[in-house]
Symmetry: C2
Subunit: 161 residues, 2 copies
DNA sequence: TGGAATTCGTACTGATTCAGTCCTGTTTTA
DNA sequence: TAAAACAGGACTGAATCAGTACGAATTCCA
């Protein structure tokens, strides 16, 4: 279903939380507690986001994570690309050379159009827009689901009621 | 990477092929041969597409498949929804009731926006557009890849050279 | 009326990916 | 120097995917 992984789902929840408190710096346990997500996953995802340049990390006793840029300047496309790899990479490109019929391939150029359309849609939504319209209350994010069905477009963040 | 499955990938190749010859009717072995896709998969996918109303099937000796509608009237969103299930279903909707905090959930409404944006992008591309700009030659589709990496947006159709 | 061709439905299996955990090292602060 | 926090892998069970197989139902035609 053109699905995103839970890792991405979680990542967006975390980034949204960070964007809601731009001046604050969070460490992994804090974020895990406030978003009700499992700490190991949170830690893993934060590392990834820092490595990809979306988060600024500070080591040491008073370390933690903060947004590397303003929330307005971070698009959903960037976030997804950071957590899942580049959007719109065709296997025929990555495995370059395996496909000797590239000039004859009729499907690829059209898929490129779809890639572009979807990517454009994702680039049009910024993190700040995602963080907006959140209900008040610092008790963190209430999340959904708990089943084992895979998330479709819309993610399934687990909440521990 | 917001990926589609190979099944969908194959399905689009098949539909594209069907759209290129609107007057013709194809049976499964023909399509498999002309698209260089494995027959069992082709058969499986055609069944699904027929069940979902995108293809019209005719049983019996001279049976086969044809597009149920004109290619212009079939959008990529429909195709993907047919092959992978509904786009933009949140787990919290499908498991309805499991989520008692729905009104507090801050992430969902925003994900809905992303769903809508992506779905709009996919609805804007019709099958006829996908079938267009195909290179001439009735020898069927030349496909790509052969690796084991999962397809990102852009699919990886295997070709048997 | 019976046989052949074809779709239809469903169940099954191996391989791959995902979600989540754990451990060890490195850096920074106090 | 010790504690706190990030960094970077390796690992495992569960879920999903890709592909296969088989029997039943339907239609055409001789």
């Amino acid at each position: 279903m053109i699905r995103i992984t839970k890792q991405t789902d979680y990542g967006i929840v975390l980034l949204t939380h960070l964007a809601a408190f731009p001046e604050r710096q969070f460490n992994a346990p804090e974020l895990a507690a406030e978003t009700h997500l499992p700490l190991p996953m949170v830690s893993k995802i934060l590392k990834l986001l820092a490595k990809e340049g979306l988060l600024a990390s500070h080591r040491g006793v008073k370390g933690g994570y903060g947004l590397a840029r303003q929330a307005e300047e971070i698009s959903m496309a960037e976030i997804i690309a950071a957590l899942e790899g580049p959007i719109a990479i065709t296997e025929c490109i990555s495995v370059e050379g395996d496909c000797s019929h590239e000039p004859l391939c009729p499907v690829r150029s059209n898929w490129q159009r779809i890639n572009d359309a979807v990517r454009a849609a994702l680039m049009g939504i910024s993190l700040s827009e995602m963080a907006r319209s959140r209900p008040a209350g610092p008790q963190g994010l209430v999340t959904l689901g708990g089943g084992n069905a895979r998330a479709a477009f819309a993610p399934a963040v687990l909440h521990e009621v």
